[in-house]
């Protein structure tokens, strides 16, 4: 039986969702215009005032906001509420430059935790469940978000945080954890450790909510097998709120975006133009209920497709696919968008190591597209016929994924630089800087 945390919202009619979005967007634009000088200046520069935004149909008139803006505004530049109304900060694990700090009022925290509660109930969670949260706690949003959601659902919450695997498994067996929340790689590790300790059959887990990093369908199957649970994806960004911006339901085929809080758009990352629904492009979010740290048209850099196909779970909110790559990595070859991550997934599926190099050039006004691929000993045979067939199969699989033909060159493993040496995956000779 499908259970919802807020059925009247999660299964609302499209008209109702549209109405919420229209009203809340208008209010949110006015809120940032009145309270955030940085936004007002950006909007003025773009020649837009709050009066121009009457519904979501006007959303495209607003300028984008990027991670660079967030860094420039560190720490208080985008704050839209007085500090005395804020109760929490969370921060991203930035790899370069300044960190990004997001602020929350109590209202913001409540809404965020409700989103996480929806995610927990979507995987079958209820107040009888024991929710084992092994995401990190602290500045990282993973632990606090799922912890809050678990409280809202009424689960017995185990605030484990990450690490100390033996203790994790001990609590899991002694207290009978039924729902596990952590990163997919840690879930895989817990599964292996449980097997080594010979306690797999003592686990009572039924569902896992795994996010905060990229993972494949193959990993999903492995984790489901090793921990004996159903594995579900969850998506979120600290900038927007945290985990629970979208979450997977029982259908395990894409994540429902909480559209009463976030408006999603798909844009062409090169031109910024909004793309028709169903097309692949960069995911952009507008948070329409956030008080302290609202973002209008935040560019996530995640490449994604949205789908409004009817979901068997009964939820009416739009679904996003697992992010397929980062727009920063996107190449345009013969007019087609190509992501290195797509090439990597084809190589893995065909049994080639993900050690490759893409070489793009322009000859006689036409793009050339070559991929150097490692010939692994496990696949190599002594006959030209078989090796050629392998090469042809790879070319066909790449064409099916990318839509264009790449020239594949099989190389000896030593010819392509290894990743520990900071491999150069893309050599684009067309650029004339």
């Amino acid at each position: 039986m499908t259970k919802y945390y807020q059925p009247e919202i999660e299964c609302a009619s499209r008209e109702q969702i549209q109405q919420w979005q229209d009203e809340r967007l208008v209010k949110q634009v006015k809120h940032v215009w009145d309270n955030v000088p940085y936004y007002r200046a950006k909007m003025e520069a773009a020649g837009v005032t709050p009066e121009d935004i009457k519904s979501t149909a006007d959303l495209h008139k607003l300028p984008f906001i990027t991670k660079d803006d967030l860094r420039e505004c560190y720490p208080y530049g985008l704050l839209a509420k007085p500090l005395d109304e804020c109760v929490r900060i969370q921060s991203t694990s930035g790899t370069t430059g300044k960190r990004v700090v997001a602020f929350y009022t109590q209202h913001d925290i409540d809404l965020w935790e409700e989103c996480c509660a929806r995610a927990i109930m979507a995987v079958g969670g209820d107040k009888d469940d024991v929710c084992h949260v092994s995401y990190g706690y602290g500045l990282f949003t993973g632990g606090p978000g799922l912890n809050g959601g678990s409280h809202k659902v009424g689960c017995l919450t185990l605030p484990m945080s990450s690490g100390n695997t033996e203790r994790q498994l001990q609590f899991m067996t002694d207290l009978g954890s039924t729902i596990l929340c952590c990163t997919p790689s840690y879930a895989a590790y817990l599964g292996e450790s449980a097997k080594e300790m010979g306690i797999t059959d003592k686990l009572k887990l039924k569902a896992g909510i795994f996010g905060a990093e990229a993972w494949t369908e193959e990993m999903r199957r492995d984790i489901e097998k090793s921990l004996g649970l159903k594995a579900y994806d969850i998506y979120g960004l600290t900038e927007i709120s945290g985990p629970g911006v979208s979450f997977e339901c029982e259908a395990q085929s894409g994540m429902h975006i909480n559209e009463d809080h976030f408006i999603a758009e798909i844009i062409n990352p090169e031109t910024g133009e909004v793309l028709p629904e169903g097309e692949k492009g960069e995911l952009v979010f507008t948070s329409i209920t956030k008080e302290a740290f609202p973002l209008l048209r935040y560019r996530t850099r995640d490449i994604c497709v949205l789908s409004r196909e009817k979901c068997p779970c009964g939820r009416t909110h739009v679904k996003m696919c697992k992010p397929m790559g980062r727009s920063d990595d996107m190449l345009i070859i013969r007019g087609v968008n190509v992501f290195p991550s797509q090439i990597e997934s084809v190589l893995l599926a065909q049994g080639f190591p993900p050690n490759y190099q893409i070489i793009v050039d322009r000859v006689n006004n036409t793009d050339t597209f070559d991929i150097n691929v490692e010939m692994p000993p496990e696949k190599f045979t002594d006959t030209v016929r078989e090796v050629t067939a392998m090469e042809k199969e790879l070319v066909a699989a790449l064409k099916a994924m990318l839509g264009i033909v790449a020239k594949v060159h099989l190389m000896a493993p030593k010819s392509i630089q290894r990743s520990e040496g900071k491999a150069v995956r893309v050599v684009d000779k067309r650029k004339l800087y």
Binding site: F380, T381, D382, T383, H409, L410, K414
Partner: protein, 141 residues
């Protein structure tokens, strides 16, 4: 009674083939027989050596992709018609020949044809029935 052949993957770039043969020579590996198959894109160097284990180790240590295959070393008279006789036996028995290459043995007048077929036992039986012998690895050195 097959013999072990080492096949090495070679990129089709000038110099890379000699890099592999030089590597083996520098490590005291003597190539008894050698054949190269190449396409516009890559090549496969096939070799028969006495110490298969040692050669494989050297190739592995130097990051080469290789594979070891069981092939048949067919005894062949070093005179006109020797090759044709073997090929006719295989054709009559409807045995698909993936590839073949010949080389002379130390003993004057004796040669050997390396053949790669789907089923070594079937080929050996067909050849034996026609009075053609098969050499062992140690017979080649």
């Amino acid at each position: 009674m097959s013999v072990k052949q080492i096949s090495v993957f070679v990129e089709n770039q000038a110099g890379l083939l000699s890099e592999v043969t030089t590597l083996l020579a520098d490590n005291g590996i003597n190539l008894r027989a050698l054949s190269i198959a190449d396409t516009s894109d890559f090549g496969i160097l096939r070799i028969i050596v006495e110490d298969v284990e040692k050669a494989a180790q050297i190739l592995r240590d130097h990051g080469n992709t290789y594979t070891v295959t069981e092939v048949l070393a067919v005894k062949m008279d070093d005179k006109t018609g020797g090759l044709a006789k073997i090929l006719k036996v295989l054709a009559d028995a409807e045995i698909f020949l993936e590839y073949a290459y010949a080389f002379l043995l130390q003993k004057p007048g004796e040669a050997c044809l390396i053949i790669r077929v789907p089923d070594n036992d079937a080929a050996e039986a067909a050849l034996a029935a026609a009075g053609i012998g098969i050499a062992k690895q140690e017979d080649l050195f």
